[in-house]
């Protein structure tokens, strides 16, 4: 019983990353009709916003300590971050410790800017081009972006720990009268994603801007005829989608150390999530994200693996096939979206 609850929790937590990425991807699909293979790269850039902030906060000056030796036998240079020197070791240390949450503030403007530049500079020219061209250009962009990151940060994963206070485990089982623990940061990630998803949905539901965008998703031409400048709004939506992917990346860094190809690792999966959810459906993407997360967690249980060996390797794809064959347009897809 514990084991099952734990895997459900784990699935929700995995699913929140899938859902966040798929949400942005489907926003771009839905509004702009663009197949964005660079969406994983946006997630990765978000993660490297956190890495960058951590590096910036750790800019250090060096003191020579004669009592210690470095690897060549010379006197060791001890590094002290400027932040600690300016704000005192305690407060300065706390700032460095909270680098990842702080990076959210840092990442939002950067990601929106990246989104704007991408849309205005490149994607815009591809609205009326075939999907194949969109795939080629965004894939090229994704490769170029990740190579740039690799050039500056290397290929190895980079450790970006969560704040001390949010590390460790919490006894979540106690809430329901049981006893099992779960990492605090992963719980934080789950609630964070719920907040972001909620914010996006309310934004689309309750603002005029959101209403126009939703109308545009349903029928772009009609909205254009009303004399509303839908293109500018779509640019903003692209910025928002980039920001969502970026924030998902920032908060993901303590869970797994980021590296330059993490975007590609998520790319295929996020496409599967979006399609299983149904093209052009935001609730579908979120639902599919959580569903696949939970199923993936279950499939990795020993009890299930011993019945069907290797099921955890392929569960996502098996589910995708079953759903697409039984529900032609995924869970909640609309008719006629990307069926040609």
């Amino acid at each position: 019983m514990d084991a099952i609850l734990l895997q459900i929790l784990n699935g929700l937590d995995k699913g929140s990353a899938y859902a966040l990425i798929a949400l942005g991807l489907t926003l771009i699909f839905g509004t702009l009709g663009v197949v964005n293979f660079a969406h994983g790269a946006l997630f990765m850039i978000g993660a490297f916003c956190a890495v960058t902030l951590q590096r910036v906060l750790n800019f250090s000056y060096e003191d020579v300590d004669e009592s210690q030796k470095d690897f060549l036998g010379n006197a060791l240079k001890v590094k002290t971050p400027y932040v600690e020197a300016w704000f005192g070791p305690e407060f300065g240390g706390a700032i460095i410790d909270w680098a990842v949450p702080l990076a959210i503030l840092f990442a939002i403007p950067i990601m929106i800017a990246v989104g704007f530049i991408m849309e205005r500079g490149l994607i815009k020219h591809f609205y009326s081009r075939p999907h194949a061209d969109q795939i080629l250009v965004t894939f090229g962009l994704a490769i170029a972006l990740q190579e740039v990151i690799k050039y500056f940060y290397g290929a190895n994963p980079i450790q970006t720990p969560s704040p001390e206070a949010l590390s460790g485990v919490a006894n979540v089982g106690a809430l329901i009268g049981m006893d099992f623990v779960y990492p605090v940061w992963r719980i934080v990630y789950f609630f964070f994603s719920v907040v972001i998803i909620g914010a996006i949905f309310s934004f689309l539901q309750f603002t005029t801007f959101g209403m126009v965008v939703r109308a545009g998703m349903a029928d772009r031409e009609t909205v254009g005829l009303l004399g509303i400048n839908i293109n500018r709004r779509f640019t903003i939506m692209f910025g928002i989608a980039a920001a969502v992917a970026g924030l998902a990346g920032v908060m993901y860094t303590p869970i797994n150390s980021p590296n330059y190809h993490m975007g590609m690792d998520f790319l295929v999966l996020s496409f599967v999530v979006v399609v299983v959810g149904g093209m052009g459906s935001l609730p579908g993407a979120v639902l599919a994200g959580f569903m696949l997360g939970i199923l993936e967690s279950f499939a990795s249980m020993n009890e299930i693996k011993s019945i069907i060996p290797g099921i955890d390797q392929i569960i996502i794809y098996v589910v995708a096939i079953i759903i697409l064959l039984t529900r032609p347009r995924g869970l909640m897809g609309r008719k006629g979206v990307m069926e040609e």
């Binding site: 690897f71 485990v169 869970i255 590296n259 998520f266 990795s300």
Partner: protein, 448 residues
């Protein structure tokens, strides 16, 4: 029909059939001038450094490349000579190999067998490389080793830890300096016994491919032999990035030791996840829960950050070793590049030197002669103490380091500390050991 498989650009260069302006077809046969593939007849000899330059192991590949360049410099008499000064064999003169200047070509394995073989083939066919070396994973090493056997050049493996490389997939033209899964287990087991006792329940998480399996098998056998119970062996998909769903069941499994048979990015993530789930603070059956990472790499340990503290594993070599050879290598590498070398860098540097030395001693680049010179060759001064290149399986037998994540690192390189140097005798196994059975070296192939 010609039997010549691969080009010998060297011959042609010096042959200089130019001048006549005529197309002059030549067919090389076994009886032609060259007796083996890519016989360097000019004033230089070309080595092929085939390392991952893209993909997850690109940093390790870059470090290997640095070591190769250093080795070439030393072989050609440049720099401070590095380990050439401490190497027990004094055959190398610092004037290249057999008086020929050492040149090199580089390629990208992408950590994919196909790409690695394509790259190695281009080195052999286009650049006339007489030896291929490098790599950062066992799949690639075995694939390229097979290719070199067919092509008739020597393969000096880089970082490859699977038992199979010198076990069921061993080849007469392939040589491995790096240690393997069995040796890791043999070195680790006694240390673990001392630290954690004989009554332990181990839970294995294993990368689901051949390297992972051989290591899992080795560690399980060694720990079971000293009284531990293996609670479970769980295979994790290679493509996993988040291991939480595999870690969660460990919590209530009754296990008190977690063995992570992962390498590279997988290792960083699974270890990070394990620590996240509070396994290190956990107490099971009145004992502290422990995590073991049998194959450590300092470059990768960096990605796991503070999570490695206090966690034991094994490694082929570490820059903090105090012997003369290691010191010399760290000095020349560190002076040139500004940071200490990794174990991958060390092993490929050694391999390059060992190859050059064998050629020098054999007096020929012929793979069969080189192979003979390397087989059952005993040497010292390359950082791992007295070492034997066993002739029966082309595996090096040398001391293995048991290391621990350092609690208070003084710099970004100072992540591991050596706990014990397990002597070579303790990790040596008979050549017909069941974990290595099923293959045959075959006979050396000089090509042509």
């Amino acid at each position: 029909m010609s039997k010549s498989a691969f080009s010998r650009r060297g011959v042609l260069k010096s042959g200089a059939l130019a001048g006549t302006g005529l197309a002059l077809p030549t067919i090389f046969t076994a009886s032609s001038a060259a007796a083996f593939t890519n016989d360097p007849t000019g004033s230089s000899v070309t080595l092929g450094f085939n390392v991952p330059q893209t993909g997850p192991y690109a940093d390790e590949g870059a470090d290997e490349l640095r070591a190769y360049k250093l080795a070439v410099e030393h072989l050609n008499g440049g720099g401070d000579g590095g380990m050439m000064n401490t190497f027990s064999s004094k055959a190398l003169q610092g004037n290249g190999i057999l008086g020929k200047e050492v040149k090199y070509v580089t390629g990208d394995t992408q950590t994919k067998s196909d790409a690695a073989r394509a790259s190695a083939k281009s080195m052999i066919e286009k650049d006339g490389a007489v030896m291929i070396t490098g790599g950062s994973s066992s799949g690639v090493a075995i694939a390229v080793q097979g290719l070199c056997q067919e092509a008739g050049v020597i393969f000096m493996a880089g970082l490859t830890h699977s038992n199979d490389t010198t076990g069921k997939d061993k080849k007469a033209n392939g040589f491995r300096h790096f240690f393997n899964g069995y040796m890791s287990a043999a070195a680790l087991a006694p240390v673990l016994k001392n630290l954690y006792g004989t009554d332990r329940n181990a839970y294995h998480l294993t990368a689901d491919y051949t390297w992972g399996w051989t290591q899992e098998e080795s560690i399980a056998a060694a720990t079971e032999a000293m009284g531990w119970t293996t609670v479970n062996k769980v295979r994790t998909p290679l493509a996993s990035t988040d291991f939480s769903s595999y870690i969660a069941p460990v919590l209530n499994s009754g296990a008190d030791v977690l063995v992570l048979n992962h390498y590279g990015g997988n290792m960083v993530n699974s270890l990070t996840n394990a620590v996240q789930f509070g396994l290190r603070e956990k107490v099971v059956n009145g004992k502290n829960f422990e995590i073991v990472v049998p194959l450590y790499s300092r470059l990768m340990a960096k990605g796991a950050g503070a999570n490695v503290k206090g966690i034991h594993g094994s490694t082929n070599w570490h820059w903090s070793l105090q012997d003369e050879g290691s010191q010399a290598f760290v000095r020349s590498f560190g002076t040139k590049y500004g940071f200490p070398p990794s174990q991958a860098a060390h092993t490929v540097y050694c391999q390059t030197l060992l190859y050059a030395d064998a050629v020098q001693r054999a007096g020929s680049f012929n793979p069969c002669a080189v192979g003979e010179a390397l087989e059952d060759y005993e040497f010292d001064g390359l950082g791992n103490g007295k070492t034997l290149y066993r002739g029966d399986d082309h595996q090096c037998f040398k001391d293995v380091l048991v290391v621990r994540g350092k609690e208070n690192p003084t710099s970004e390189f100072d992540l591991l500390e050596v706990v014990e140097v397990t002597p070579a005798a303790q990790v040596t196994y008979p050549v017909d050991h069941p974990m290595f059975a099923g293959g045959a070296l075959g006979s050396c192939n000089p090509g042509s």
